[in-house]
Symmetry: C2
DNA sequence: CTATTATTGCAACAAAGTCGCATTAAATGA
DNA sequence: TCATTTAATGCGACTTTGTTGCAATAATAG
C-alpha cells in the first residue's frame, strides 16, 4: 500500500514544520478549516504509522503529535520527555533523553512520557 | 467536603487490593455489575484526587488506575514506568524509579510514563 | 432519632476518534 | 497523453470514554 502525496497531507506537514510544539487534531483543524475532520485524523494516523510523527496523550486526554527526528519506518525511538502546561495547554518535547531499564523478556515497541505542571512562561 | 464510606467505594478498593495490575473503568465495571457506571467513574476520580489511586493513559486511550504507595493528599509522586502489553492489554506498574531533569523555571505537578510492547507472558 | 449533605442512580450529554461507502484524484505505464 | 488502478478524501453515522444535572438515597454528626 504505497502512500500518495496530496495537498492536505503536505499542508499538515507544513504546520508541523513551522510549529515547535506538539499539536492536537483540534489545533490542526483550526488551521486547515477546509480539510475534512476525518481526513485530518487519517493523515495524522498514517504519519504516525510511518514514523513521521510521534504521539503523546495529554492531560486533557487528547492525542498530541510532533515530528520525529530519528525514527525509521514505524519503529519509534523516542526516549524523551514531554511537558504539558496546565495553564496554556502547550505540549512540548523536551530534548533530555530518558534512560530506563526494561524487564527481562519484555519487548518494547513504543514509549511515551508526560509531565504536567506550569511552564516557565505561565509561572 | 468530607468523604463518606460506602459499600461501592469499599468494593472498588477491594478489587485494587486483590489485583496487582492497573485497572480500567471497564475492568472494574465487569466485576461490579450492580454498581452504576457513572458512580464507578466518580469513585475512581475521587480516589485519584485523594491520592489513593494514580492514573495512566493506556495505548488504547483508556484511563488505568493503580494503588498509590507513597502519595499524600492529592500530591502524586510517581516517578515510575508503566508497561502495557499490546497483546493481553495488561497495564502494570514497574518498580524501577525513573530519574529525569526538569527545565529551568518549570513546575511539575504530575508525571506518567508508558512503554508499550509485548510482555514476557505473551512473548 | 433527626438534620445535613455526600453519594448514588439515571438519563442526557459532550468530546475524541473511527468506519463504511461513494467520489475524487494521485501514480503508473502503455 | 490517456486510461487504469487504487489510495485518499468527504460525508455521515456511529462508538467509546467520560462528564453532568437532578432527584432520591444513605452515611455521619450531634
Ligand atoms: Mn516528543
Ligand atoms: Mn503505577
Ligand atoms: Zn504554559
Ligand atoms: Zn501480555
Amino acid at each position: 500500500m504505497k502512500r500518495r502525496n496530496t495537498k492536505s497531507k503536505e499542508q499538515v506537514l507544513q504546520i508541523f514544520r513551522q510549529e515547535n510544539t506538539a499539536l492536537s487534531h483540534e489545533m490542526i483543524q483550526s488551521k486547515l478549516e477546509s480539510v475534512e475532520r476525518a481526513t485530518i485524523y487519517r493523515i495524522l494516523n498514517r504519519f504516525h504509522e510511518d514514523g513521521v510523527l510521534h504521539k503523546v496523550t495529554g492531560e486533557d486526554n487528547k492525542q498530541y503529535f510532533a515530528l520525529c527526528k530519528n525514527c525509521e519506518n514505524g519503529q519509534h525511538k523516542h526516549h524523551h520527555l514531554h511537558f504539558q502546561c496546565l495553564t496554556c495547554k502547550t505540549v512540548e518535547c523536551l530534548e533530555n533523553e530518558i534512560t530506563f531499564s526494561i524487564p527481562q523478556g519484555y519487548q518494547v515497541q513504543d514509549f511515551q512520557a508526560l509531565m504536567t505542571g506550569v511552564c516557565s512562561r505561565c509561572a
